[in-house]
Symmetry: C2
DNA sequence: CCATCTCAGTGAACATCGTTCATTTAGTAG
DNA sequence: CTACTAAATGAACGATGTTCACTGAGATGG
């Protein structure tokens, strides 16, 4: 009978619905406003039902984090296809910043969580995924590879690509994180900060 | 009678005890592990008593944030007294990084909170305090003034000091924040990142 | 067609959280 | 000694995440 498959499909459907509802709530009320009961209410099920699909709230959040990273990669993809690594690096920077501004709740969910959640995240190293050719296809991989090309080409100083990439990431992360948490505390126009940072990266690491 | 004064003193004492207990709990279990009942238990009072001294948990946390900033300033103070602004800037950077590493829970409490808490913070603009001469005495003020001197001296390009200072802050913040949240995810030695960032700042903004 | 079995779904219950408030307690003033 | 004041209590309320004995609808086997 195909009935068992249908039931599996229905189960997967509900799981997807739960994640969708959760995403919406996070967008609107932030991760700390995400409640099992709110999710249940959104899909019109009892709260206990969620636990048939996720062992705990933390696991559900981890799922959100995982596809938050995919969303980030989608922001970076157009930039990643630029041929010239110099232009590409700048485009990646702007795209990353745009992601932070347009999806602050997602940004917080991914990158600004208490250590307990991030610790579990560290194990799966999201963002570092490599494609079949060893090319970076995760968010960090894209950046790292671009930096590696710039070093190989002689544009950047001879430093480990990973180190440089992580430093650049840190710089951008700082600007975006400050926006995501203390937006109105900031005195400088965001675009100006980002432009300065991207120019600064070239000046700082130029050979 | 001095009895009323004694009672006020006792009241202030308990308030201080409550904050002390809270600080300890935050250091050990993070801000999300801070519970009114835990604080009460630590000072051996009933939970309700705390509300005679603080209107809400959020207000108590805001108090913690306030003196978290003072702690940061204490880290920066030695660096702030260096005469040469170039050396001073580097020293400030290292001190800031050291603060983040040695007091990760405090760093999180101050800088990595959900927008609701940070929003209230924005109004009091901690870190931007000016002394009687208009000199920066808050954490950000110290940085901003140093940058202003470097610009005035011709070491740095002619850009608004506030903008440059905020950008530098952002860069360091990114590195420290990544450590504070995803320590074991990082591939690069922290000292290396910080050194690269501080060198990078000079290269990036040099005239 | 009925009995049985399976399993998604339920919702009451538990512990914990921040917070409130009627009540008790202790210490001062008259 | 009495009356008053203010600190302190602890039970209670409505949330939260999570569990679990139960229900009920649909598939299976005779």
């Amino acid at each position: 009978m195909g009935s068992v498959e249908r039931r599996e499909r229905q189960k997967a459907d509900l799981r997807a619905q739960l994640l969708d509802a959760a995403r919406t709530i996070v967008q609107e009320h932030g991760l700390e406003g995400l409640t099992m009961r709110k999710i249940a209410e959104a899909v019109e099920y009892a709260p206990g039902t969620i636990y048939l699909h996720f062992p705990s709230r933390d696991d559900l959040v981890r799922e959100l984090v995982r596809d938050g990273f995919l969303e980030l990669v989608n922001y970076l993809k157009p930039a990643a296809q630029i041929a010239d690594p110099r232009e590409r690096l700048a485009a990646i920077g702007y795209a990353y910043a745009r992601f932070g501004v347009e999806r602050p709740a997602t940004y917080r969910t991914i990158f600004l969580q208490p250590p307990d959640i991030s610790r579990a995240l560290a194990d799966m190293r999201p963002g570092c995924e490599k494609g079949p050719d060893g090319d970076g296809v995760g968010a960090f991989g894209i950046l790292e590879q671009t930096v590696a090309e710039l070093i190989a080409r002689g544009d950047f100083r001879q430093l480990p690509a990973t180190v440089v990439a992580e430093t650049i990431w840190g710089w951008l992360h700082g600007l975006v994180a400050l926006r995501a948490t203390c937006d109105q505390k900031m005195l400088t126009d965001f675009d100006t900060s980002v432009r300065l940072a991207i120019e600064g990266v070239h000046r700082a690491f130029a050979a």
